[in-house]
């Protein structure tokens, strides 16, 4: 055959590479088997166990079967692995009837046998002839030669395959010879390695035996291959490592080493182990990088200097071929530059990564590579022509992108923009810098120098590669075109920029998009198309503002200012200028420049009035604080208010402002109590300074730049009684806040600033604002009363208005007007009658000016004196309670009128002075009839009010005052309280009578009482009042009482009633000297029926035979009622009956024991007829039983007048007496019925019915006898009751 002189088959460095297996022996036999073999071999994976602890892998084996030639065997030192034959197989057949071509072949092979010195491995596929002679004659020789060749090359991976055909065997039925041939071969060649000889039975048949033998053979083949891999690769790796360890030796070459390790990578790639292949390249990459780093650190390797040669070619990465042979050869020849090496390395990595389906890693690594290369060139100080690297990077970026696009579909690319966008923007950036470098961005286009540079750059690109020559959009063509003309550059640059922006936006990288956009804006500005630039600048600025990045804001604004200037957007430009002029991130000069821009505009435009430019104030100056004088911001009509503001000018130089104005909103809130002069002057006491929050400019402006809330408290009062109905907070600028936000408003436009025109403006003209704080004072005279809210601050510089649209917090001042007014109030809580008291007069002048000679005319009240002292002083205050002056007050009193001449006082002032008044205890207080308890309610003749027992009686005095400002009189009521309350009572002792007067001090003051008198104003000669009192004066403390007692004596029959007048002098105990004598306090009362008519005596006697009463035992109660006088005037009433000159009256007695000490047995009450004669006595006997032991008071015996039913008088008994009378009411009617004692039983129902039932019936009535007429002689008497012996069981029966 052809073999020996035929050239080596060219190594095809593609994926088609397969490990080489050589075939020797019967070539025809192999050819017949080859199809099945090549099909079956990769069918099943085999586990490849690796050395160095690498993870085992399942691997599908394929092989390239080539005819065995000695040249294929590697010579010593040849490191090529790709061409390395990993296995050698010898094929032979057991039975061969005819002389086949294979036999000839085997003879041909024999020619080489002489070269075989050692045969280590050989699969001698001996198609053994039937007879061993054939074997001995030809095959053995052949095999021996083959083995010797292998041995000579120390190749140990061999296999002998013996193919046997069954058909033959059946005919012969002689197994032994066949067996013996295999055995022979084993014997001859496979000493100790009998498994090196494999039998393949009937390979072309379809039988189970065939299948079995195939399987066994394939397994053996695979195992052998893998073993060979392991061994040979292991050896190779060891060698490689050894080589690597020598890297510090002087002669070491990276390129050589590169080739060696790449060989390994190739093999892995061949075996489809791309991961492993990639690892090899990554190792090379890392090794090289480390060298570069070390070189940079001064640890230079000789071989590296070679890579430092100047860059002459920059044609970018080539990724379209699996292997860039051109570059590889350069490396092999050690002529590669750094870029060549990197490009080649990356192209290999890229290929492998794409095999591994990791295109995104390619993109990521590409970016790293490009950055890295740029850095490495810098580090190694390689000379690079300007722009060359930009070209290289640009081309490479596009190449990588196109390569990735070439192997992915659209959807995949779209969903992985994040990985590729970096390359896009990098390419954009590089194209941009190329454009700037080559003068393609300028307006005029490139000059000759630029053109030369372009030519140089294009030269460095070389010719376009054949692979891309037919691609329209190849990176090469793109770059060439872009550099060819200004227009082409613009097109390409815009394409790239827009693509980059779009991609950034689509994956949400807005900031990056804005950043690219800013570059684009810069480009447009260079191209003098500011209108296109503006959009991008605004967009970027909005973004920076929103996130508060001060420096980018300043920078972008500067660009924007330029742009706006070119566009002629005066207003926007001025606004941006003002912002820039106040920007502290700029230099002083820059700020001044922008400030001058504004000022020059302002001065230029003065001749064309009308056009106003409204700019926000905050960038021009900031309002710091505001101060009112007067400080409470309340001023009366006509008063002067000054407002002082501190404006912090942000400008870097003094600015003359023609006018500073504050717009004021005026509102009248008439019905608001809070707007009255009284409330305002009293309650609004701020310190007058309002601080405005400084704008925190560095922090981000809130996204929604809404005006601040203007909140006010709100009270709604009911119109009738001024009570609070509702309260709440209202927002006055809802219309501003709830406005729909225009989505497209830029932050820089002045849309929110509107100039308000108000009627009320505070102005200040011709102010020069120095940088920093300036104080500006506005003065205004208050005119209309109402509330003034400061709303806008506006500074005018020429036609430019700097406006602060809203003052926040809201600032207001109030103007009020006030009617003159007089108020008179007691100094203390209440005025006391009878002693001098101080009263404060307050004259609020309001709008009236008090002139000299104006006076108050007081018409005197009868019982109230105005005490005039020598010096009364009046104090004049301003409305804000600041003391203005004081003056002497003249008070002139005549009979009817007291005139107080007021000191002169200006309007809106307050005159205050005090006067002493004295309320005289005018008419004596009279006591009414004595009540049952002897108490008399005192009734004044004037309107007295008396509530609870502890309240003082009061007297009102009305004073009418004529004021100079009014034709009407002012009537003022002063209320005086009477400090004392006086009560009297009548006391009896038998027939002797005493009058007791109790004076109670209700006030807080202590008094002294002197000269207590009780007189009978009728001067009844028969009566005498004998005082039994202590010596006066007597001290009466606050809230205490003093008693006076007189004995009443008479000589003749006393009158039925007696008038008395009590008088006592009183003066404050601590009053000191009193200017005038005080009138005594008097009290009049009347005492009636004071003469004693009946003497009632009760006595309890123990049961007969015992000394003491006992509980539970009945005792007798003896009651004797004795008449003490004959018929008197007082007896003449209806109860009196006359018969035969004898008079008698009907009385009812009643025994009541309220303390339940006694049980009254039998009748407790009865009616008796009493003769009206002295010493007439009536005795009543009844039985009572003590319920307790001890000294018990006697039960009460009450006596009533028993009036017949036709009496016109109404019963004097109140309801209480009825109830206490213990079932009496019913019994009264039935009169003397002995069974009246049923009281206990019918207590409840009878009394309930009593009121209405008795009204219509002719019923007798009861009238209590006045206390003076009955003397109970046994009151206070007690009886000793001793406990009964067996008081444990006490049975009480009450009937």
């Amino acid at each position: 055959m052809d073999a020996p002189e035929a050239p080596l088959p060219p190594v095809i460095y593609t994926m088609e590479n397969k490990p080489i297996v050589t075939c020797a022996g019967d070539q025809n036999l192999f050819t017949s088997i080859y199809p099945t073999l090549s099909q079956q071999l990769p069918r099943e994976p085999m586990e490849w166990r690796r050395s160095y602890g690498r993870a085992p892998k399942m691997i599908h084996l394929e092989s390239n079967f080539v005819q065995f030639k000695e040249e294929l065997l590697p010579k010593d030192g040849n490191k090529a692995l790709l061409t390395f034959p990993f296995l050698h197989i010898y094929w032979t057949e057991c039975c061969l009837l005819k002389m086949s071509p294979s036999f000839e072949t085997s003879i041909t092979y024999a020619r080489y046998s002489g070269h075989f010195s050692s045969v280590n491995s050989c699969l001698f596929c001996a198609k053994t002839r039937l007879d061993t002679e054939v074997y001995k004659a030809t095959v053995k020789d052949d095999l021996t030669k083959w083995q010797n060749v292998l041995k000579a090359h120390s190749s140990v991976d061999w296999l002998i395959v013996v193919v046997e055909n069954d058909a033959k065997k059946k005919n012969k039925t002689n197994i032994l010879p066949r067996t013996s041939i295999v055995d022979k071969i084993r014997n001859d060649f496979c000493n100790k390695q009998s498994d090196r000889c494999v039998v393949l039975s009937d390979p072309l048949k379809d039988s189970s035996r065939t299948q079995e033998s195939w399987n066994a053979f394939l397994t053996k083949l695979r195992t052998s291959l893998l073993m060979s891999f392991t061994k040979n690769l292991g050896k190779f790796e060891d060698d490689m490592r050894t080589l690597r360890e020598k890297r510090t030796e002087p002669g070491w070459s990276f390129c050589d080493y590169f080739m060696v390790q790449e060989e390994l990578a190739f093999v892995f790639e061949m075996l489809q182990q791309f991961e492993d292949a990639l690892v090899q390249y990554d190792e090379l990459d890392a090794l090289f990088s480390q060298y570069v780093v070390n070189f940079g650190a001064g640890d230079g390797a000789n071989w590296l200097t070679f890579f430092c040669q100047p860059v002459k070619s920059w044609n970018g990465l080539i990724l379209r071929k699996p292997i860039d042979m051109e570059k590889r050869e350069l490396i092999q020849r050690q002529e590669a530059t750094l870029l060549d090496l990197r490009s080649y390395l990356f192209s290999r990595q890229c290929t492998l990564l794409l095999f591994l389906q990791r295109p995104w890693e390619v993109a990521q690594r590409a970016l790293e590579l490009l950055h890295g290369c740029v850095q490495e060139l810098k580090l190694l100080e390689v000379s690079v022509p300007p722009g060359a690297l930009d070209c290289w990077v640009f081309l490479s970026c596009l190449e990588v992108l196109q390569r990735i696009e070439g192997c992915c579909d659209r959807a995949q690319i779209d969903s992985n923009i994040a990985h590729t966008v970096g390359l896009w923007s990098y390419a954009t950036e590089k194209l941009k810098s190329l454009g700037y470098l080559c003068g393609l961005v300028s307006e005029k286009g490139p000059n000759s120098e630029d053109l030369n540079r372009i030519v140089d750059l294009l030269a460095g690109l070389g010719a376009e590669r054949p692979e891309t020559a037919n691609t329209a959009q190849s990176p090469y063509k793109k770059l060439k075109e872009a550099l060819s003309s200004v227009e082409a550059f613009e097109k390409h640059y815009l394409d790239l920029s827009h693509a980059a922006i779009e991609m950034h936006t689509s994956i949400g990288r807005l900031r990056s998009a804005k950043f690219v956009g800013k570059d684009l804006a810069e480009f447009y500005m260079r191209k003098k198309s500011p209108q296109k630039a503006e959009v991008y600048l605004q967009g970027a600025l909005k973004n920076y503002l929103a996130e508060g990045w001060a420096l980018p804001i300043t920078h972008t604004r500067k660009q924007l200012a330029e742009c706006q200037k070119h566009l002629g957007q005066t207003e926007n430009y001025l606004q941006t200028s003002s912002l820039l002029a106040s920007d502290h991130h700029l230099t002083e000069d820059e700020r001044k420049h922008f400030c001058r821009e504004i000022l020059s505009f302002a001065s230029r435009q003065t001749d064309s009035p009308g056009q106003k430019i409204v700019l926000p104030l905050h960038c021009f100056a900031q309002l710091r604080d505001l101060h009112f004088t007067p400080s409470n911001a309340v001023v009366h009509v006509g008063g002067v208010l000054s407002v002082e503001i501190t404006l912090c000018s942000q400008m870097p130089m003094p600015v003359h402002v023609e006018q500073v104005a504050i717009n004021v909103h005026f509102s009248i809130e008439k019905n608001n109590y809070r707007k009255t002069a009284e409330w305002l002057t009293k309650h609004k006491t701020s310190n007058g300074t309002i601080n405005f929050p400084t704008e925190t400019s560095p922090l981000p402006v809130p996204q929604n730049n809404l005006p601040a809330l203007e909140l006010y408290e709100m009270f709604e009062r009911s119109p009738s009684d001024n009570s609070l109905n509702t309260t709440g907070i209202i927002c006055k600028n809802v219309h501003m806040l709830l406005r729909r936000q225009e989505s497209s408003t830029s932050l820089e436009t002045s849309s929110g600033v509107a100039l308000e025109d108000g009627a009320h403006v505070l102005k200040c003209s011709g102010v020069t604002l120095e940088p920093g704080a300036n104080r500006i004072t506005f003065r205004t005279q208050a005119r209309e009363p109402g509330t003034y809210t400061l709303r806008q601050l506006c500074a005018s510089v020429g036609p430019v208005r700097f406006v602060l649209p809203h003052l926040y917090p809201p600032v207001q001042y109030d103007v009020y007007s006030q009617e003159p007014q007089l108020r008179v109030e007691p100094l203390a809580d209440s005025l006391l009658a009878g002693i001098p008291q101080k009263v404060k007069f307050t004259v609020t002048t309001g709008h009236y000016t008090v002139k000299n000679g104006d006076s108050l005319q007081l018409s005197n009240a009868e019982a109230m004196l105005i005490l005039c002292h020598a010096e009364n002083r009046a104090v004049i205050y301003s409305n804000t309670r600041e003391k203005a002056s004081d003056a002497l007050l003249r008070v002139q009193s005549s009979d009817k009128v007291t005139s107080i001449s007021l000191p002169a006082a200006p309007a809106y002032h307050v005159i205050e002075f005090e006067l002493e008044v004295l309320s005289l205890p005018s008419a004596p207080v009279t006591g009414g009839e004595s009540s049952v308890l002897g108490m008399t309610e005192s009734h004044g003749k004037h309107k007295d009010t008396q509530k609870a027992g502890q309240c003082m009686a009061t007297t009102d005095h009305k004073v009418s005052i004529d004021c100079p400002w009014s034709i009407y009189s002012t009537v003022i009521a002063l209320t005086f309280s009477v400090p004392f309350r006086t009560t009297h009572s009548l006391l009896s002792a038998g027939t002797r009578k005493y009058i007791q007067v109790c004076v109670q001090n209700l006030s807080e003051l202590d008094f002294e009482l002197s000269d207590g008198h009780l007189v009978d104003p009728d001067s009844n000669a028969d009566l005498r009042l004998v005082p039994l009192n202590a010596k006066s004066p007597q001290h009466i403390h606050s809230k205490q009482s003093v008693f006076f007692v007189w004995e009443l004596k008479w000589t003749r029959e006393p009158p039925p009633s007696l008038r008395c007048r009590f008088s006592v002098g009183s003066s404050p105990a601590s009053g000191g000297r009193l200017s005038i004598p005080l009138k005594p306090y008097t009290y009049e009362f009347r005492v009636e029926n004071f003469f004693t008519l009946y003497n009632v005596r009760a006595e309890i006697l123990p049961p007969s035979g015992t000394e003491h009463c006992r509980t539970g035992s009945l005792c007798s109660l003896e009651v004797s009622i004795t008449r003490l006088s004959d018929l008197l005037e007082v007896d003449k009433d209806e109860a009196l009956t006359e018969s035969d000159e004898y008079f008698s009256t009907k009385l009812m007695y009643e025994v009541v024991d309220n303390s339940s000490n006694w049980a009254v047995c039998g009748k407790s009450s009865g009616v008796i007829s009493m003769p009206v004669a002295a010493r007439a006595t009536h005795r009543v006997h009844m039985e009572v039983m003590p319920l307790f032991a001890g000294y018990l008071p006697l039960p009460d015996v009450r006596l009533f007048k028993y009036l017949p039913h036709h009496s016109a008088h109404s019963s004097q008994l109140d309801a209480d007496s009825w109830i206490e009378s213990d079932g009496l009411s019913v019994d009264k009617h039935v009169d003397e019925q002995p069974d009246g004692g049923g009281g206990g039983r019918c207590r409840g129902s009878a009394h309930l019915a009593s009121g209405g039932e008795h009204r219509g019936l002719p019923m007798p009535r009861l009238q209590a006898l006045p206390p003076g007429q009955v003397f109970n002689a046994s009151v206070g008497t007690q009886v000793l009751v001793i406990p009964s012996k067996d008081d444990h069981v006490l049975e009480v029966s009450v009937t």
Partner: protein
């Protein structure tokens, strides 16, 4: 070492940003600001996992020709961004991590200061010196 260190509030405005004095400050401001894109991306992409692992270091945000930008985010979503010179190849991931940790500690100290209002610019001198030490170390 670091040429720019920035602390960025949750709302993405800078609380602190300082760059090597020799360099163009503006460039770094732009760079740090742009890097927030990647920070946001990383936080949202692995937000859940990040919280679970308590991994605050975001790694390399993106490289540029001359610089490498690294990110770190605290649990309260305050971001630290550090820009390192690309030529400074000696700086490994672990060192960047430890620098961030140091920065975080210093930031925590700032937050512990009762006179510091969260959200205000950081003006602490201690923090400043920490940053300075990071910037000087190699330069």
């Amino acid at each position: 070492m670091a040429v720019c260190v920035a602390v960025i509030a949750k709302e993405n405005y800078p609380l602190y940003i300082r760059s090597a004095p020799t360099e163009n400050e503006l460039k770094f401001h732009y760079m740090v600001h742009t890097s927030l894109d990647v920070v946001d991306e990383k936080i949202s992409a692995m937000g859940k996992a990040l919280v679970d692992q308590r991994e605050l270091y975001l790694g390399l945000l993106y490289p540029t020709e001359d610089y490498k930008v690294y990110g770190y985010v605290t649990n309260s979503k305050v971001k630290f961004v550090m820009v390192v010179d690309s030529s400074n190849t000696a700086l490994r991931d672990n060192e960047i991590r430890s620098m961030f940790r140091k920065l975080h500690n210093s930031y925590t100290d700032v937050m512990c200061n009762p006179f510091y209002n969260p959200g205000d610019r950081i003006q602490s001198r201690a923090f400043d010196s920490t940053v300075t030490s990071m910037m000087i170390q190699v330069c």
